[in-house]
Symmetry: C2
Subunit: 259 residues, 2 copies
Amino acid sequence: MPESHNSEFIKNIAGYLPAISVDVVIFGFHENELKILLLESKDQENWALPGGFVRKGEFLEEAPKRVLKERTGLSGIFLEQFHVFGDPERTRANNRALQLTRQLENDDLSAEIQDWLLGRFITIGYYALVEFTQVDPQADFSSIRCSWFDINELPPLISDHKLIVEQALKTVRLHLNFQPIGLNLLPSTFTMPELQRLYETILGTTLDRRNFQRRMMSYDILNRLNEKRTGGAFKAPFLYKFNETRYQQALLNGLKDVW
Amino acid sequence: MPESHNSEFIKNIAGYLPAISVDVVIFGFHENELKILLLESKDQENWALPGGFVRKGEFLEEAPKRVLKERTGLSGIFLEQFHVFGDPERTRANNRALQLTRQLENDDLSAEIQDWLLGRFITIGYYALVEFTQVDPQADFSSIRCSWFDINELPPLISDHKLIVEQALKTVRLHLNFQPIGLNLLPSTFTMPELQRLYETILGTTLDRRNFQRRMMSYDILNRLNEKRTGGAFKAPFLYKFNETRYQQALLNGLKDVW
DNA sequence: CCAAAAGTGTTAAGTGTACACCCATGC
DNA sequence: GCATGGGTGTACACTTAACACTTTTGG
């Protein structure tokens, strides 16, 4: 799938908006670690965020949706614009362009297309929160591999991608203060301790078990099921599900305003 | 100043990034009303947000800074990116382009430049908070007038500019929950009731005088002066100044986190 | 001296924090 | 039965919301 899309991409380079790219920080949660999905380029030691370009006729949000779909197979996921990165010196475009041009150096790329690729790119940063176990990471045509990395053990990244990741994490932490989180990061049913680990991992702190439970319940976005997670050691915890209606409402209205 | 800049702009259209514009929602506060600065175009009944393009070599943030400077004369102002608007059908660019091309129809605009102007534009929305009394609104070359409008009495706006304004206001209200505000919206000294009116106006609600004062003081970003605002009727209120060091620190660290 | 605005104080209700205690489970 | 993790309850501190009282000022 990505292959055919990519050849298509090369041929239709003029069908994309110039100078604009999107990069997506795809967060996943697994074994108490917050992870992001990265691509390893063929030319370099460095890794890169999955990114793409915007088709001339499409809605802006479609571009990150495509990226997410192609790299994870997932759709219908929470995806949020968080910052535009536009330093003239950012070399993301150059790196990406170098990959493309080297790969295609035998082709007869017009000067126009060369210009397109080598010009300055402003990139719109999106973040996505996905369920780790449902993802089958797919490399794109310019990459060797696509895989998950612990947020605390990132490899060297191209261009300003480290900055983009940091900013994404900062934004998620801020959003945690007034938005619910977890619907797409966790399986459809989960235990309270599991939800707590997610919060702790994102925040990089520890939280009080009992107070966490109370606060989460006060948000009124969880339904406790009559089942428990059996099989594990020790006391079996209850299973919970997000109440999707209330969850979406909380996303819109915010959890709590100061004023 | 704007005139010379504008002719320069036309000649150097190729010196700007294609397909990207910035629009700035400039908020001011005057007589208990929240206002924004709008431009009236020569061709249409509709008004528009001040906007501009990004020069090829400049930092992204320079573009809205230029816009702000040219329309208000102000610099060093709080300016924040809040959303990217990228629907393919948004006609801002077309409207703007129409103005430009009509105005220049006798000139020999190359097909390339025509394409540049008539293509699809993605716009990055910024908001600025400025001190009303220090602004001398300046129209640009494509506009008849530049003036303030009460946020509740906006004229018809071109394209999706109404949406952009709404989103800006929503963002400011949200930011009010974790960021200090007022440094650039108010004169350098002000009274507590004046600051309260600002908050009330932005939020569209009324607040308790005494609790407001306590909360503001608890943020530890205000210095009370030994002077009062005399001349008015009734009891003279104290004057306050923002402690700029603490203010900037609060901007960075946030006022209060839930977690 | 009265009305209106501003400053200060008080108190009850609500919320958050830090625990103590009990329950379930595997070894 | 004991270590460990999970569920529930509670006392206390702290914050917030609501309101009373006092002070200042112009008319």
